[in-house]
Each structure stands twice: as C-alpha cells, then as structure tokens.
Symmetry: none
Subunit: 217 residues, 4 copies
DNA sequence: GATGAATGAGCGTTCATTCAT
DNA sequence: AATGAATGAACGCTCATTCAT
C-alpha cells in the first residue's frame, strides 16, 4: 500500500504533532503515537525530519507561521494605534478558540524543555513583532497619538508583554486558571469586557486620547 | 560515608533539584543525576520523597517559598502604591540575580510538562498575589491614588502580568533573549532604567499622580 | 537482524519464559534475561505482552494448553475407569520427561508468588478436570465399576490429589526429592512399578474389581 | 534505647517473618518491613541471620518445628492405624485454622522461588514423616490391620500425598479455591464430612477392616 | 518511497545490606 | 548491643531510532 505522501499529509502530521506536543510537552510526546494518529508510519516522520527535535521545530514553525499571519492581518493597514490594539486582542481571542494548540506550543518554547531552541527561536519569532510594534509606535508618537516621554522599546516591550500574557491566559492550563483566579470565571468568558478593559488600560498607559469617545453624542 | 542527613543536606538536594529541573524540565531531569550531584544516593531522595513528581513538587514549593518571602517583604508596610510597585520591581531584579533557578522553576509550572500540577499550583500560588494586589488597589482607589473607572480585578491582573513577564525576562532563557531583542542588551543590564520606565508605564496606566514629582521643589 | 517475528519466535519466547519462570519463580525471573536468551530485545516482549505479569500469564496458558491436551488424550474414548487412570498416570510420566518446565510452571501458580493469579487460574484450570472426573466417576458408579457409598466430589478430589502429587513428584525439585525419600531412587526410575502400585491403590480405594486379574490363569 | 533482645523478641521476629513470607513469597517479602512490624531495626535481623535467605530458612524451621509437633502428637501412642489417620486429619484441620501461615510457608518451599533450599529441606522434613509412616504401616501390616500386597513405601507415599494435599487445601489460596471447585463451599466448611470421607477412602485403599464398626450393636 | 517490527540505551524505583552512631 | 539512615546494584518498562522488506 504505497501512497503518495502529499503536502496535505505532511500538514496533517504537523497538525497532529502540534496537538501532541501541546498536550504532553516535547519530552513526553511520543513520535510513534503521533505517526499512528496521523495515519502514517514512523518511518515517514523520520524520512522528513532527522529526529524528534527537528520534527518539533517543524511543528513549532508551522504553528508560528499561522499565528504570525493572524497578527499580520491584525496590524495591517493604516489605522490608529487603538484600533490596531483592539484587533490584536481580538486576534488573540480568536486564535485561542480556534487553535489552542498553536498558542500552547508557542508557550512551550519558553519552557526549560526547549532551552536548546530558545535563543534561535526567540530571535526568529520576537524580532518580527518587536520591529512591527516599534514601527507603529514610532509612527503613533510622530502623529501625536501617544506620549513621547517613554522609551520606545520598553513601550513596545510592555505592550507585547500584556498581549502575550493574554494569549497564554486564553490557551494554557496554568495561565487560564490564573486568569480565573484574578478575574473570575465570568471575565474569562466575557470577551468584550476583556477587550474594553485592555484598551482602557492600554490607552491610559500609552497616553492615548480617550478611546471610543466618538460614541458619545 | 554513612549517617547524618542534616537539614542542610536536604536543602542541598532541593537546590540541586531546582537547578536540574530548571535546566532540563521535569521530564528530562534525572533523579539519579540529581542524587549524584547532591552527593547522596538515589535511595535518599526516595526516602524523603515518594517519587519524582513528589520531589519536583517539593523543589517547587521550596523555590516558591523563597520567592514569596521576597514579595512579602516588598509589599509590607503602609506606603503609596508607587513605592510598592518600585519595591516589587526591585525584588524581581534581585531574585533574578540571586536565584535564577527559582524563577525558572516558577515559570516551569506554567509549561505543558507540568500540566498535571497546574490547577492545584495556580490556585496555591496566584491566589495570594491576586488577593494582595486587589487589596492594595482597593485601598489606593479609596485614597484617590489611582483611577476608579477600571475593573479592580483586571487592573490587578494586568499589573501582575507585567511583573511576571519582567520576572521571566530576567531569568528564563527565552524571555531574556526576547528582552534583549525588544529593548537591547544595554537595557537588560540597566536596572535603574527598567525601574524608571516600568514605574512611568505603571503610573500612567493606573492614573497615578505623576510619579516622583515630590522630589521637585 | 530486523523484521520477521514468526510464530515460532513467539513460541520460542514463551518456551524460554516458561523455563525461566519455572527455574526462578515469577519474581526472580528476569525479563531482560528471557529476552536475551530468546534472541530478541526486551522491546519485543513488551510489544506482545503488556507487562511481566501478562507475559507470565501467557507462559502459563501456553504450558497449560499443552498439559490439558495430554490429559484430554488420556481420558478420551469410552473405556473402563482403570484404563483411564492408567492412561492418566502414563500421561503424567510422559509429560514430566518431555516438558518438565510445563509441570513446574503449573505447580508455580499454587505458590504465594502467584497469589494474585490464584483464584482466576484455579477456576480456569481445575474446573475442567473437576468436571471431567465427576463425569466419569458418575458413569463408573452407574456401571457398577466403583463403590457407590462415597461422595462423588470428594472421590474425584482425592483422585486428582494423588495424580497432581505424582505430577509434581516427577517434575518439581522438592517433590522429586521427597519422592526419592519416600520410595527410593529405584522407584523414581521405575515407571512401571509406579503405574502398577498407583492402580492397585486406586482400585482398592475406589472399590474397583481387582485390576489385571485376567492375567491370572 | 538499648533493649535486651529476649528470646521472645526473636520469636516475634520469626512469627512476623513467617507471616510476611507466607503472604508475599520469599522474593517479594521485605526485610525492612518485617523488622518494622516486629518492632526492631533491620540491623537486628542481620545480626542474628546472615542474610535474607538465612532468615527465611530460620522462619521455615520455626514453622516446621511447630507443625511437626502437631503431627507427633497426632501419631503418638499405640493405636490403630485408622485412629492415627483420623488424628492426623484433625491435626491438619486444626493447624490450618490456628496457624495458616505455617502451612503456607511449608508449601512455599516446594516452589521455584525456593529451589535452592529444596533438596536440603526435603530431606530434613520429609525423612521424618516417611520413616514414621513406614514404621506404623509395617506395624499395621504385621498386625493384619492392612493389606500386605502393597509396596510399603509407595503406600506411605500415597497416604502422605493425600494428607499433604489436604493440608494445602485448607491453607493455600490456590488449593483452597481448588478444594471449593471440586467439593463445594459447604464441604470446605464441614470438617466432619471431610474426616469421614477421608477415612472411608483411606480405609478402602489400605484394605483396613471397616472403620467405626464398634458403633454397631 | 513507505512500512512498522525490532532494537536497546536509559531512567524511575525498590530493597538487601552495611556501618557510623 | 541496637539502630536505621544511607547505599547502589538491579530490574521493569518506554520510546527514539533503524532498516529489512
């Protein structure tokens, strides 16, 4: 039974891998199980990826590509910094629901089990958002949208920190529980409230003119 | 080399455990290696801890106890919310230098490898800070120190998010690299700058009266 | 040396297992050693059997299947109770020579190390012979071959006891030594004598008409 | 707390050992547990017995001494062979109730785990009963109590086989279950019935004049 | 190319045994 | 003498990786 290994098959293997790595961590995840669940033999996995680490990296990249696309969509276009922020928060909420495994995997690379991947991946992943944020903050400062007395880089850093924590809070077991503890079960379920409060916090921190004022008469 | 397992020996085993678990994650860390590095036999570890998981929990608790003490010291006393925040940031910076492993371990429980511990530990650990923050924010709002138009719980949540990310940024490989990418090597090394910018951000976000103004004539 | 785990290989593993379990008991027997002696890796054993216990059970069942077949052959057909008894004794003698390990393993499940298997296996194994014996004793009583004033069940019980002890006496170290002590080395080696005396005892106990009388003039 | 290790303490250790060895088999039984249950330190056990094997042997001997005494009492005195047999059966029933562990341990030495002890112990234990039985059977034959056309040694052997199986059937898990299967729960509980049927079987097998005739007028 | 049975290093855990106190 | 903490060899079992088919 020699099947052609289509690109979709590869994608399926990666999806299974992401799900398994997200569920069990890179050490406990089992290549043989992943192969079985993907409907292929282990041999295939080892044909396409040198070893478990390489396969894990591939899963990671696959997941990140998707996440990045979501972020890109959110930031694209010329709009106010507040709109961008809102889009980002909503993108986080959406991806947490649609592909929780992707977010979990993203979190996973920050853990000790992935220490060996950390430096390379950090640069690969974070450089993009760091630059993107720096860019639109510079722009916003130029437009007078936000305060100018803050370090641009730390500014971007704090902003991304808040967003990243939100991402994890919607996807990872520990952070979700923590979210519940801090804000209650109701808040976890109330996307609009989180958006509103996040923007209020953000606007205040960044000295943005009052958000959503247009709605007033 | 028999007899005498002093309290210091136990502490040493825990320290080694913390270091190993922080370096390799709970799955890859090897009990036999930990024992050898601690200068004891495996049997000793299994005499004091029922199994690897139990030992890991013990390491975790040991680390957390120390971290908590540092936090407690920082928040103690009756002072303005800004002073408290400053103390917390400095406590984070200090503990990151003095016991990096402790912070890494704290981060570790948020990872997938620790999924089984997550719910219990989240409650155990986060409930304390959640309550502490809620308390002093309520107090600050009552005193008119901070804005009253924010949800107290999300308020505390965002604040703790920023602090937690700072903690990891000083201790965990991935986050440290990310810190570098966002803010540059120089910022990572410049504690004072981070304190200043954090407080500026915080003050603005929380609508605190201009920080450090009292120092002006 | 990959691929190809024929049915014979499985059989070989079971044979090795039977031999090792018979020699060392289920606790001391070493799966790694069994695998090595069978010329396979441990992994193979654990591919086919969930754990040591399951493998032990498989060995047991394998051994018992063979023993049962021997018994079945001996009891099959419509013949006098004495002929049946003789066949059984000879079957015991034969199997003790040909597959001593099988008998030893059968004995093993009566030992404390197998306490956990005892109830299930007892029923599985003994119910068959209990029923078979009860059936042909009932038949023999009906035909007037044997006394009718004995409890049929205890009758069968005592008969099986004698047979079982004979089985162990030919196969298990302790019992063989005991056999020697009671009856001498010469008797252990003299199959015919044992057959003759067993039948004489049996016939007398069961009130069977004098055995082998036809040989008299 | 230096206590004198009285003879009673030693006895207690042996009792605990017998119980543990009977319950778990010689391999799984745990010296540390035995020591703890006996209220002494492991050191004591190793002071009095060179190693686990030696301690097991001591337990065995202790158990056998008690069992032998029971047998001796049963056979003592000048009485008919039937009376002797009855006393033996009753002794078996009694010891099974009073000291089940002793019987279990006796059975244990016949198992593979005790292969290394088998030859020595077989001689030590069985020689005595073999001789005793041979003696009173010779005597009985001389008195004309029993048939003379049987091999005296096999005669004794079969008799002891029946008795031994009865002993195990009252004490060991597997045999007890087998007893139930062959004879029913009610028979297992009905000591008198077992005595009666055993003696009927025995008398018939050995050609003893009808038992219990004195009861006739 | 695809398969998946086989491999075997590696780790968690137990417990007989030792020996400093 | 008695203690019992400490030792570490040994074994059950897993799973990343290989390679004959």
């Amino acid at each position: 039974m020699l099947k052609k290994l289509t690109e979709e098959k590869i994608a399926e293997i990666l999806e299974t891998g992401i799900s398994e790595f997200a569920q069990n961590g890179p050490d406990k995840a089992n290549i043989n199980v992943i192969a079985r669940k993907s409907g292929v033999s282990v041999g295939v996995v080892y044909k396409y990826y040198q070893n478990k680490d390489a396969f894990f990296e591939a899963c990671l990249r696959h997941a990140l590509k998707v996440l990045e696309r979501a972020i890109d969509d959110a930031v694209r276009g010329d709009c106010s910094i507040l709109i961008r922020a809102e889009r980002l928060v909503r993108a986080v909420q959406r991806s947490a629901k649609e592909q929780p495994g992707y977010n979990v995997l993203y979190h996973e690379i920050t853990s000790g089990s992935c220490r060996r991947f950390a430096p390379a991946f950090a640069r690969e992943i974070e450089e993009i958002s760091a630059k993107a944020y720096a860019a639109f903050i510079t722009q916003a400062q130029a437009k007078g949208e936000v305060r100018r007395d803050m370090d641009r880089r730390l500014f971007a850093f704090f902003f991304d920190n808040l967003l990243m924590m939100l991402q994890f809070s919607y996807s990872c077991d520990y952070y979700r529980e923590r979210f519940r503890i801090f804000c209650g079960e109701d808040t976890l379920a109330d996307d609009e409230k989180v958006v509103a409060e996040f923007l209020r916090f953000f606007a205040s921190a960044f000295g943005v003119e009052r958000p959503r004022t247009p709605r007033r008469p």
